[in-house]
Amino acid sequence: MARFVMEFERPLVELEEKLADLKKIDLAAMPDLAAEITDLENEVERLRQTMYQALSPWEKVQVSRHPERPKTPDYLEQLFTDVVELRGDRAFGDDEAIVTALATLGDRRVMVIGHRKGRTTKENVKRNFGSPHPEGFRKAERAMRLAAKFRLPVVTFLDTAGAAPGLEDEERGQAWAIANCLATLSALPVPVVVVAIGEGGSGGALAIGFGDRLIMLENAYYSVISPEMCAVILYKDAARAAESAAALSLTAQDLLGLGIADEIVAEPLGGAHRDAEAVVAAAGERIAAALAELGGLDAAALVERRYERLRAIGEFVEATGT
């Protein structure tokens, strides 16, 4: 199967292909080839280790965007049972870039809210590549209110490059839709567990992207602005995205260090797409554990704790005596 190759892994893929070609040759006819194959195998393994073990922030962003990376629908299908999708914002339409659903994780009934990228181009066109319109955020907010009313914990999955920046998105109040999600989410009287599974692009991610626990996949990112757009602003050159990615503190490890993320789910070498099922299962265990822990808190304590968590984020200077 031809797999999607990220720019930075090309040297490795070329070696891997060469190795595969060599292995097709009948070794009985060329006995001295065996040693060469072993050497090459070692070389491939060495390169794989060095390349993937120290991914730069920009390389992680590329991994987070890998088309074969497990997406919200994969999590929904593998982890949850009795899934009932709820559709529509009750005002304008149903935005497929966000999925909201009643779902059961183990023996726990929850409300799932997630960005929904497609697996195929056709799906992606329908879902605007996971970039929600205002209707999507209004649907998400509707799901949050339902969850509050019926005391269902909320599990969200983040995977968006950002909110859609179209003309009609602006006219229909993109900023208003996001802001209302933030306000509603901040005061939800039920546990909110957030899982950053891929892209965490700006306000469009944040709208469903904070709560009582933030679990991030190893190569997921969460950023105030896309590295490309940041590079355009800083250098007038989108090609310098690697530099801005490094400056923005957007990796899961950065967020853990800043106290914003609570835990990281490890991915196999090369990224979650190398063993999607295992990664999804590992995330599922963390979600279940977080829900079990948070389930012990009453509504008022949850809301207070969430507020204090948010209030503590940010580093500034304060002169005394003013």
Partner: protein, 300 residues
Amino acid sequence: MPINDWFKQRETRRYTVTSGASSDGLPDGVWRRCPECKRTLYQGEVARTLSVCPHCGHHFELIARDRIEALADEGSFVEADAGVTSGDPLRFCAAKPYTESLEKARASSGLAEAVVTGRATIEGLPVAIGAMDFRFVGASMGSAVGEKVARLFELALAERRAVVLIIASGGARMQEGVLSLMQMAKTAAAAERFSAGGLPFVSILVHPTFGGVTASFAVLADVIFAEPGATVGFAGPRLVEQTIRRSLPKGFQSAESLVEHGMIDDVVPRGELRERVTTVLAYLMHRAPAAPAAFSEGEV
């Protein structure tokens, strides 16, 4: 006005921003040109009209303190949290160091941070008031702005004050990365908590208001006004244009079009703002404004 008084006023008055003053060749601080009707205006006259062009009604940019003074009762404003300023938590250094941008902003604006907040009264009604200043790193929201805004809502809730915010912003402050993004959630949470206290929040959107500030506390107000000609949105017009690959319709993201699309309550000229805000606050706080001329004791 006696000429000496005028000089005295000139010394103390913080004039409106004269961005581009050098390009029109007019001496800074005395004359300025209206970008709309191209007339040359006497600075003193512009200042008297709250920096609105007396000929065509163009609203010049105002600095934060002047915005507060134009709304609050004279002498009532007392600044809060003046000591809260931006650090450089990520040691951000791409293109140029963040610390350099901050120093430049402080030197050119004379401000410590992009938002000025504090307590005041408006026609006697107690308010927590704040104004953002576009000269300071595009009035972008980093940790310090987020903190000052959150504290303003908390202070207002504790002291039973209304919140009035005059908002302009380029959005979340890139140089504080994900910390800036999280300020959106922080300020929205503070606004939501304040709102649950049954107190009014009025926001006045001025030119330009975008990105993470629009999409958080700015539009969570109970009543939203905008100044004439203000451009307000989430995505900047250039990005929208690139996305849709055609030119934008006239008036896109203008305050006037926001009214048409049902996103804000009204476009209010600067000269009428104080009266309008007072009336709204009086309704929502079930109070009579304390202006002796407008209301007598027996009326309420």
